[in-house]
């Protein structure tokens, strides 16, 4: 049974669909993940469950894999320093979590934007371009670049969890590229589909980072590394030609506009 610890979670879920529900009960959302290459042992270790919760989870996974046999799955080795508690992010991680807030506000508006999408008028196309600019400049250049160029370099970039994050970033960039091409052709349907797909992708991506990846990373980073990251993020903020205020203003205005339409 030790072999299951070294198997990709998607492979396990495909073979034993009940495992997805078991993981969901522990707020481990591997089901919707579109990559699913993380190994079972890493998933269990990274979620900072208490020893008791981990034992229960493993027993339930064992039953989902084979209800008729008394299967024992070995204890997954915990990463050092992980312990269940109310988590406080280190200042650089808190900064990344705070940056997610504006992205989440944009994501929350996408269903309404899609409902009234207009590719024919100048005003309609301007809104789409502004939304795409928000994704490219704020979410990608300002935020994802901090992760890819700085934060991820402190870890093994071949680790499955980081590969998943990179894949999400790459997928988001591809969706944006397709949206721009579709806008050229006035192809409303493709823009609607891609904006919706972006919303789903980023919602899950942010949840994974806030609840799993960042707390795990914080447990691995030394005090010295936290200070370094904080200084490097600060340097990026001072040097980058992206103004967060511009995008806050865009979201503020869009929220007001949609509220007015609804009222």
């Amino acid at each position: 049974m030790e072999a299951y610890l070294d198997k990709g979670i998607k492979e396990i879920i495909e073979e034993f669909p009940g495992v997805e529900d078991v993981l969901s009960d522990y707020d481990i959302g591997c089901g919707p993940c579109n990559v699913g290459i993380c190994l079972l042992k890493d998933i269990v270790a990274i979620h900072r469950l208490s020893d008791e919760q981990e034992s229960q989870l493993m027993a339930r996974i064992a039953r989902a894999i084979d209800p008729d046999q008394d299967i024992r799955i070995p204890h997954a080795e915990k990463k050092t320093g992980t312990k269940p508690k109310d988590f406080t992010y280190s200042p650089p991680m808190k900064k990344l979590v705070d940056e997610h807030v504006l992205i989440k506000r944009w994501i929350a508006l996408i269903p309404e934007v899609v409902k009234n999408l207009d590719v024919e008028s100048e005003e309609g196309r301007r809104l789409i371009l502004d939304g795409i600019d928000m994704i490219r400049s704020y979410a990608d250049k300002y935020h994802h670049a901090k992760e890819e160029d700085i934060l991820f370099k402190y870890f093994d970039e071949e680790a499955d969890i980081l590969k998943v994050m990179h894949e999400d970033h790459t997928r988001a960039r591809a969706l944006v590229k397709e949206m721009l091409a579709a806008l050229e052709k006035r192809d409303k349907q493709t823009i609607v589909e891609n904006l919706t797909a972006y919303r789903e992708l980023l919602s899950e991506h942010i949840r994974k980072e806030d609840e799993i990846l960042y707390p795990w990373m914080d447990n691995q980073l030394s005090t010295h590394q936290v200070g370094e990251l904080f200084a490097k993020f600060d340097t990026v903020d001072r040097q980058i030609d992206v103004s967060p205020r511009k995008y806050e203003a865009f979201i503020d205005q869009l929220e007001k506009k949609i509220k007015k339409q609804e009222g």
Partner: protein, 159 residues
């Protein structure tokens, strides 16, 4: 609490030595991780070379006696200053020295180690007050140590 026991910071306690002796691992000579002198807050110069860009420990006087693994787990690779927020006079000087660490020595991080007794919270307040008044921002971590050397809390403060 018994009336005669008074302030928790100076209340008399006698820990069970037998239990500690039984759990003490066998080790050889433990090397000091101290790499500077002086260390008392009134005596240190915040511009000293060993504070430049450093990870600094600001430690309440009692911490190093309570925390068995202080040198290995906390002092290693860090610069230090010690102070007693209850007994030391002239703590406005401390405030200015912490600000100088942040703005002039451009320290990387500040870790404040205090005891669990209420009076020790003053050292963390002092550090936060100095950080609020500084031009630069640095990550501040605080660690609360129990009187028998247990880590009761270890958190990053909001930057």
């Amino acid at each position: 609490m018994d009336k005669l026991e008074g302030c928790p910071g100076s209340r008399m306690m006698d820990f069970n030595k037998t239990d500690k002796e039984n759990t003490e691992p066998a080790v050889g000579k433990i090397n000091s991780q101290l790499t500077q002198w002086p260390i008392q807050m009134h005596l240190i110069n915040p511009s000293a070379p060993y504070y430049q860009g450093a990870d600094v420990l600001l430690t309440a006087d009692c911490v190093a006696y309570a925390l068995g693994d202080f040198h290995r787990d906390y002092l290693k690779d860090k610069s230090i200053a010690i102070a007693c927020p209850k007994l030391d006079q002239g703590q406005d000087v401390y405030l200015e020295k912490i600000k100088a660490w942040i703005d002039e020595a451009k320290i990387n991080t500040l870790t404040v180690l205090i005891m669990q007794v209420p009076c020790c919270g003053g050292l963390l307040n002092l550090a936060q007050q100095a950080a609020d008044g500084a031009k630069r921002k640095v990550p501040i971590k605080y660690v609360v140590v129990g009187v028998q050397g247990e880590i009761l809390q270890e958190e990053w403060a909001a930057a």
